[in-house]
């Protein structure tokens, strides 16, 4: 199990999880429900979360891991907020997709399958995404970026996402009343 980002022991999300586990007390077959709730809270299921559920429910970590590794929906490793898929199909490959991938890894200081330190990006090498004419191609979430010939473009693309996320964060900080308004449609 990867522990790319340590979750603090006193993370408030554990309290929420405890509340949920308490409700399940006395019921049978709760391993899956517990893991589903935990994934909903944390986004993925690191070892600490397994250990926490185990301590509260008495189900061994091994058994929990058996369940979480069986179902495709459970994520054992965190994903970044934005998933970058670099097409490594033949057409992209011969047009320099490997260089694109290397450059992205260098910029984000991570390897394929890892998450950047700020939690914003994760990188995967994808099979052909069917845009051979636009090679080399990368996809960020659902957005396709084509013809990445100039590797310096990549920094700019990433910056756009960083700026957008920073703007969203700043907006929610700047107007503390904004949340209350959203809850009250009147």
């Amino acid at each position: 199990m990867c522990q790319s980002k340590q979750i603090e022991v006193n993370d408030p999300r554990f309290l929420e999880l405890d509340k949920f586990l308490k409700k399940l007390q006395g019921e049978k077959g709760i391993a899956m429900m517990a893991l589903q709730k935990a994934q909903q809270l944390f986004g993925y299921l690191p070892l600490e979360v397994h250990k926490h559920i185990s301590a509260r429910t008495g189900i061994s970590v091994a058994e929990l891991y058996g369940v979480s590794s069986f179902y495709s929906q459970f994520l054992l490793e965190a994903e970044g907020k934005h998933r970058i898929s670099v097409c490594m199909g033949t057409a992209c490959y011969v047009k320099g997709a490997q260089n694109v991938l290397d450059k992205l890894c260098e910029l984000l200081e991570i390897k394929v399958g890892e998450v950047s330190a700020d939690g914003l990006f994760s990188i995967t090498a994808a099979r052909c995404i069917g845009c051979c004419g636009l090679a080399p191609v990368i996809m960020i979430d659902e957005e396709v970026y084509a013809n990445i010939v100039d590797l310096n473009e990549l920094e700019q693309i990433l910056d756009n996402y960083r700026l957008k996320d920073a703007a969203v964060g700043a907006a929610s900080l700047a107007s503390p009343g904004g949340k209350a308004e959203a809850e009250d449609p009147a």
Binding site: K28, G29, M32, G66, Y71, A91, K95, C132, G133
Partner: protein, 667 residues
């Protein structure tokens, strides 16, 4: 809308009367938007929001705007229907937010339907477009030299101006969905309420008869009588295997145990199948009612619905339905003041195809890895937590209330002697009208694919239809007149399956299809038993050798042998049926397999490694392909025939798409 009025059947009857009047004779307009998952992905949520805001803006608060389930015709989504007292229903198709606003302003505000957005208007435009295309084509085919697309556009525009569209032509066009050929041969019994009622309102379901069967069972029938009625009806499991439902129930009923369980299997995992999702999203109360009846019949007090987590809309609507049934006293302790107590809990899957197998499903509800176990003992004797358990599929259950209410003979009035009733199919693949349909058992596949589905698009030749997904097989032209029922399809080497029908035409490579399904089972095998874990993997390797052009003729015998071993020695149905797509295509399309191996060719031009691209002498040497090729595999001098270096070519097909002279061919 729902008021807690105590828990008596009289209250339910009252609610039924009031809401039915509201539904049939709405004071003002009743507007419904098809909001099953398919509708939502076509943009129905935006359409709904636009309607809601525009209705509010115009102060039309007395109009009831409701969501509804799947109407069945995916290609017309988003669908909006408007009911008005004393008038015919108006059906609007492909309604985007802009159209929605026009509809509110014109139809709801001034009572004038917007003809051009209706089904009939849409079909007229479609027909005109076809005529225009045909005329443009015949006009252009006189000219030999290639035409650019802009030229073609301007020429067809001229033709539009010439053409008139007389109003009288409207008469022949269908006005309602039920007039379409797609609906003519259908018999909507399970889907009766889908696309009409609001699935999030129990009163609308009750108005159309929901829980009337439960009332009959609880007030006038013994558990034994319920089981007898289901047995006499001849209802068989719609999940694919076709086991008689009443007999299954009787097995659990005769067991003596402290606790019994009733489970609804809603883990619909076949790629290309969405029958159960549509029922759950369109009419969840039919399923709840059946589970309660089933629980009463076998003596269970607890029910589960095991539903895929990939179906969030179905989960949401089931949760609402369960809550509403509780409020009216239809679930919980002493249901409607009777001695019978029963509750239903929702359990979510987490993405494992094998959990559709009943013992794996039980293991998953118990919270563990969803791995199947040997049978017997069958779950009816030894199921969830070791207690007698009945597991029925969604569609099977949706049939139950009708049978209890109308009697077993009513159910037998349609279908065949050994397979009575209807079957819901999800029709997909190379067929003109994809969608959800319900037909009487005994109909022929030809009727389903050609009369209802409209045959293969673009005049392509029909090749085969795959029934039963990764567990089934394919049926070819010569067997198309066989009737659809559990036993006939099995005898033809396929199976009924849960209801996915994938149509394939001449452009589909059967070896590639077999490879696709085998890849799926390799991914989804739970890995517990060796024949399935290793056998499917080895089969996939052989198939990849064949599609890759490295196979020997002996590989075909090996495939057959492996497949037969899988059928005999796998632990559960997933492994036992995993070889079916391979064996059935091998039996019926052996020549295709042989061509792949012997001639290193794919007759349908699908298997990339076996494709050769050739530039014919139609090439004028315009150099476009050479410039466009992403891997620079094409070379040639201007005005001379170009060449493709197949060692460099990635077979992406870009050159074919872009050649103005149709000079490049796949061989």
């Amino acid at each position: 809308m729902i008021t807690k009025t105590g828990t008596s059947w009289a209250n339910i009857a009252n609610l039924r009367k009031c809401t039915l009047a509201e539904l049939e004779q709405p004071e003002h307009f009743r507007v419904t938007v098809g909001m099953a998952t398919c509708g939502i992905s076509a943009g129905a949520d935006l359409t709904f929001e636009a309607l809601r805001q525009e209705i509010e803006r115009n102060d039309l608060s007395d109009i009831s705007l409701e969501i509804t389930g799947c109407i069945g015709l995916c290609s017309f989504e988003p669908i909006v229907e408007i009911y008005e007292k004393g008038k015919e229903k108006v059906s609007y198709v492909k309604v985007d937010p802009v159209k929605a606003i026009t509809i509110v302003r014109q139809h709801l505000l001034h009572g004038e339907p917007v003809e051009e957005f209706t089904l009939r208007g849409f079909l007229r435009q479609q027909r005109e477009q076809k005529q225009r295309d045909a005329e443009a084509h015949s006009y252009l085919s006189h000219k030999l030299e290639p035409v650019t697309t802009t030229e073609l556009d301007s020429r067809s525009r001229e033709l539009v101006i010439e053409e008139e569209s007389p109003e009288s032509e409207l008469a022949g066009l269908p006005e309602h969905f039920t007039d379409l050929p797609f609906y003519k041969k259908q018999k909507r019994q399970v889907l009766r309420n889908c696309g009409y009622i609001n699935p999030e309102r129990i009163d609308e379901a009750i108005a159309l008869g929901a829980y009337a069967a439960l009332e009959r069972a609880l007030t006038g029938m013994s558990a034994k009588a319920v089981i007898e009625c289901i047995t006499d009806s001849g209802l068989r499991g719609r999940g694919g295997a076709g086991f008689p439902t009443g007999i299954k129930w009787s097995f659990a009923a005769r067991e003596k145990a402290e606790e019994k369980y009733f489970i609804c299997n809603a883990d619909e995992g076949d790629p290309g199948a969405f029958m159960d999702r549509s029922v759950l999203e369109g009419d969840p109360h039919a399923v709840l009612e059946a589970i309660i009846i089933g629980g009463y019949a076998i003596g269970a007090s607890k029910g589960f619905i095991y539903v895929r987590a990939e179906y969030p809309t179905a989960v949401k609507r089931l949760n609402i339905a369960i809550e509403q049934a509780h409020e009216l006293g239809l679930l919980g302790d002493h249901i409607m003041a009777s001695d019978f107590s029963f509750d239903i809990e929702l359990r979510l899957g987490a993405g494992a195809f094998v959990c559709g197998e009943e013992t794996a499903l039980i293991a998953s509800i118990e919270g563990g890895r969803g791995m199947p176990r040997n049978k017997p003992p069958f779950p009816a004797a030894h199921g969830l937590y070791g207690q007698p358990t009945i597991i029925n599929n969604v569609e099977t259950l949706a049939n139950v209330p009708g049978i209890i209410l109308n009697g077993s003979q009513w159910f037998r009035r349609i279908g065949t002697e050994r397979s009575p009733g209807t079957k819901v199919f999800a029709l997909g693949g190379k067929v003109e009208h994809t969608g959800l349909l319900e037909v009487p058992m005994g109909i022929t596949l030809r009727e389903v694919i050609f009369d209802i589905g409209g045959g293969c698009p673009d005049n392509k030749k029909f090749k085969a239809v795959q029934t039963g997904g990764p567990s089934g097989g394919c049926i070819t032209e010569e067997n198309l007149d066989l009737q659809v029922d559990f036993d006939t399809l099995k005898a033809a080497g396929s199976m009924m399956g849960s209801g996915g029908l994938i149509v394939m035409d001449e452009d589909n490579c059967m070896v590639d299809i077999a490879r696709f399904y085998t890849e799926f089972t390799v991914d989804e095998s739970c890995g517990q038993c060796v024949p399935c874990r290793e056998g499917t993997k080895r089969m996939l390797e052989i198939l990849e050798r064949i599609t890759g052009g490295h196979a020997q003729m002996e590989d075909l015998d090996l495939l057959e042998e492996l497949g037969e071993h899988l059928q005999l020695s796998s632990l559960c149905a997933l492994g036992q049926t995993a070889a079916n797509p391979v064996l059935s295509t091998l039996r019926q399309f052996r020549d295709e397999y042989e061509t792949h191996i012997r001639d290193k060719q794919c007759p349908s031009h699908v298997c990339k490694n076996l494709l050769g691209y050739i530039i014919t002498d139609k090439c004028k040497g315009c150099t476009k392909c050479a410039r466009i090729c992403p891997v620079h595999a094409i070379s040639g001098k201007p005005r001379e025939i170009h060449e493709i270096d197949l060692d460099i070519c990635t077979r992406c097909g870009l050159c074919i798409e872009n050649c103005a002279f149709n000079a490049i061919e796949r061989r």
